[in-house]
Amino acid sequence: MASRAQWVGGLLFLIAAAAAPALPEWVASLVTIAFANALVVLGLVVLWRAGLVSFGQALYYCIGAYTVALIARWTGFTDAIALVLLGGIGAGLVAALVGFLLARYREIFFAMLSLALSMILYGVLVKTESLGSTDGFSVATPTFLGYAPHGHALGLSLYWLTLAVDAIAAVLVASYFRSVTGALAAPIRDNEIRVEFLGVSVTRVIHAKLVIAGVLGGLGGALAALSIGHVDPNMSYWTTSGSFVFVTILAGSASVAAAFIGSLAFEAVRSIAVDVMPSLWQMTLGSALLLTILFLPEGLGSLMGRLRGRAGAKP
């Protein structure tokens, strides 16, 4: 049973999909990147609801991206759908492994450990000559189940693929939030001990959330790699993680849709700011973040709820 927000969300997706051919290429490209990044943000939302802020999601983003790039480079296999799935799976596996450790940490320590892990990957990639060290390397042109588009058609195909992955992810995550384990977010954040006493292994629940966030991060990175056409170690740098966290705060955790809207808004503002005032775009973003934290702690998503008369919306 879908709520009103979901109907609206579904409609917007369809509109976005249908409008694609009419959009100028730079807009379509912007939307594609924004929606790829939105997946990473969605993963952060899953974690933030449980009270965890990861400063290292760039790790999974980078793994997803490099998985795609390396498979294409080493095997010549270029099917986009398969590559993206492999990117997600690869990142998910790492998250599952790392999760055994990470699931036991909270707050600042969780943030720092996740940061450290992403920086380890950065350090390794930067010093690996065969992978192009700081320059990275380019990603082969993707194909789609045999279809090999170029130019505008390629851009459209990637656009639609990203939108499709997003839509599926949105539906799955929304239904996860409605399940018991998914709902065990605010309770864990509020009072972990009580949750344990109710018979739940909090570590296992958090481990699962870490894997979900990892998979989403990997999918996002894979899609981004295909769209940008290039991967480099910067994808694992802490500032990349920082910008994902940024969007998460901006968007808020009130709904699944917030991740997509927030990501889109962020890309739009960043592009415009870089264009209009190239030396002040960081200041603009920083001010936006500051103002949001100070006056809209629940993020922009909560603004919607407040306009409707109640604080916060359910997915």
Binding site: I108, A111, M112, L113, L117, G123, K127, T239, S279, G286
Partner: protein
């Protein structure tokens, strides 16, 4: 072999001095205020750029190089003082009491803003301030050539460590600080003006951060992005040593410094990996750092 070993030791020591100077302000602020201050990178950057300006002004006069060095430091610390004061009273105090992570995000936002303020003030070009280092000359130790400036750095780091230790243990203010580090609420209940302590601590931390940038300025190309790199290095040192512990920052700096020097000389590919690998390892084994005891959960 011996040469490599001595090179590792001296390089490690110098790098450790750099890390300690940079990290001490961060660990102080975290220990007292429980804030992981991302803006620390900005203090560092401002200190470096300020030093470049100072050296620029100074180079045109005829006064001795040593005075130039002092001028550089004084300017940087003045910058740190003003920045620290403005930020703490203006922005930070608005978010005290909120979740730790929220405060970190505020400092991150301020950092982003300040990155562009640097461009506004100094423009996008890079600067150099190598004069003090060149003026200091070199010393030869057998086959090793050491820059005197590096020796000065190590001396400064040692002096800072000594002063910090003495101040915390033997001055009234230092003991107040230690009390607040231990338990803010109880300190306030004893009548300690915690607000004042916070402001003073943050300002000192800012000044130390700027000092770090200033003393390092002669050794690097002062350009955009130096703050970005330093933050995560400082975090690593502080996480290893224990947040809020001066001894910890010292040991953390030494550990990272020596490990990195070893990597650079022996297996260069591992240089960056080593730093964050050690950080991750320490966080796993002793999350509170090597020198801080775990805190019991308050109901």
């Amino acid at each position: 072999m011996l040469l490599t070993l001595s090179a590792i030791l001296t390089d490690g020591l110098v790098y450790a001095a750099y890390l300690f100077i940079v990290a001490i302000g961060l660990t102080l602020i975290f220990g007292v205020m429980k804030i992981l201050n991302v803006t620390h990178g900005s203090f560092y950057a401002f200190g470096a750029y300020g030093a470049a300006t100072a050296v620029g002004i100074y180079a045109n006069s005829d006064l001795p190089a040593a005075l130039g060095f002092l001028f550089m430091i004084a300017l940087a610390m003045a910058i740190g003082l003003v920045m620290g004061l403005v930020l703490e009273r203006g922005i930070l105090r608005l978010v005290y009491g909120r979740d730790e992570v929220v405060v970190v995000l505020v400092t991150y936002a301020v950092f982003l803003i300040l990155e562009d303020v640097i461009v506004l003030i100094w423009g996008p070009r890079s600067y150099a301030a190598y004069q003090p280092m060149v003026a200091a000359g070199n010393t030869e130790l057998g086959e090793l050539v050491l820059s005197n400036y590096d020796i000065v750095l190590v001396a400064i780091a040692a002096a800072l460590a000594g002063i910090a230790y003495w101040a915390l243990k033997f001055t009234r203010y230092g003991r107040l600080l230690t009390t607040v580090i231990f338990d803010r609420e109880t300190a306030a209940a004893f009548g300690i003006n915690v607000t004042l302590v916070y402001t003073v601590t943050f300002v000192i931390g800012a000044m130390l951060g700027a000092l770090g940038g200033a003393v390092m300025a002669p050794k690097m190309s002062i350009t955009l992005g130096i703050g970005v790199e330093v933050i995560v290095l400082a975090f690593a040192v502080v996480a290893i040593g224990g947040m809020g512990s001066i001894e910890g920052a010292l040991i953390g700096a030494l550990v990272v410094g020596i490990c990195r020097a070893a990597a650079v000389h022996l297996i260069p590919q591992l240089e960056l990996f080593v730093i964050y690998g050690v950080m991750a390892l320490v966080l796993v084994v002793r999350p509170y750092g090597l020198f801080v005891r775990a805190q019991p959960r308050k109901i």
